[in-house]
Amino acid sequence: MGFSDADLQAIWLTLRLASLVTVLLLLIGTPIAWWLARTRSAWKGPVGALVALPLVLPPTVLGFYLLLAMGPNGPVGQLTESLGLGLLPFTFWGLVVASVFYSMPFVVQPIQNAIEALGERPLEAAATLRAGPWDRFLTVVVPLARPGFLTAAILGFAHTVGEFGVVLMIGGNIPGETRVVSVQIYDYVEAMDYGQAHWLAASLVIFSFLVLLVLYSLNHRQALR
């Protein structure tokens, strides 16, 4: 049997979505994680809780509110329309925005933990050596917190690949645009086409296992060092 053209299209779309979201999340999530790790502000609790919300909320809740917010009567929808971008639901970029929210805690938390584990001392040492803030971040924090960044990137990527409920709520199932692998599998199951469903579903299981295997092996090696 093998993959159909529609399957390959869904796989390619999913990989594109997950890669883009991972890059965006590293860019957006790192400053948030940095701030959360080092701030003494009273806002640390609320911001941390907000970032972690997608961990506990059912994806349908997130998807439903995103659909309302990004719709023609929602604040985000009115903003995107006034900017001439049109509406986000049912578009690839709508999925990107949704996934950034949805996978945020999986990227922020590992980075935050890694930075917290560093403590103040390496940074103070670097500062006495007259390293500027950027220099300190790039030459001290990034290398030392590397396992945290690696975990964040892999989890962010994998979690976006596994996203389903949110996509179902705001995607509209458009081939090549919003029909990702998880939705394609769901369609096969619903249409009682179990043979095709197995192909894709089993591939996803193997893929996810390999990703996590790589992650844990790397972290294990790191821990042994």
Binding site: L67, L68, M70, G71, P72, N73, G86, L87, P89, F90, L168, M169, G172, N173, I174, Y186, D187, V189, E190, A191, M192
Partner: protein, 250 residues
Amino acid sequence: MKPIKTTVFALTLAAATFAAQAERVQIAVAANFTAPMKEIAEAFAQDSGHEVEAAFGSSGKFYAQIQNGAPFEILLAADAQTPAKLAEEGLALAETAFTYAKGTLVLWSKDAERIQDGPETLRAGQFRKLAIANPRLAPYGAAAMETLEHFNLVETLEPRLVKGDNIAQTYQFAATGNAELGFVALSQVYRDGALVEGSAWTVPADFHGPIQQDAILLKRGSDNAAARALLDYLKGETAREIIRRFGYTI
């Protein structure tokens, strides 16, 4: 004090006898039939004392669950194929299948001004998105595609179609305004002879194949008298009146 005690005792006794006769029926119901089924279940409980426990969802999902031992006793499907398939596989009793409702497809918009003349609205194309149920999964979706074929609009409108996983989600896309138009079930936008909101065009039944919704007794329910009673009740006038009130024909 004494009279109260006696009353309480009498009530307890009455409740106990009632409970002894009352049974429970677990049923799986197509998402589009959610609202009428809730009313029918209430009426049925009042008339018979039996309790209905209903799960609402898509026929495809219920099929997979029933195949794998879900404890449903009756299936009220959104189509005729799913009950037939279950009967073929020995999971349902073929002779109990019957059509409990026929669906009506409407083109609907939340905007009260948008649809004056349905075919014209479709042809003019003054909209960004048209929501339909996934035609591979939902009979309302298949009927919507057939309607577009009837007007020769499939190629023109294909890029603007967004597909809901079932008819409830399709309605959600249109009701939140994310799609200006949607092909939905009349039962979703209609109560007691009038549109609840927005504007609509009822698609003539000869533009698409019939949306025939069949019920069937599942093997698990074959020994439950309450399950058979509910099936009979669905064929009766009380239920049919409710069914019609929600925009179905029967």
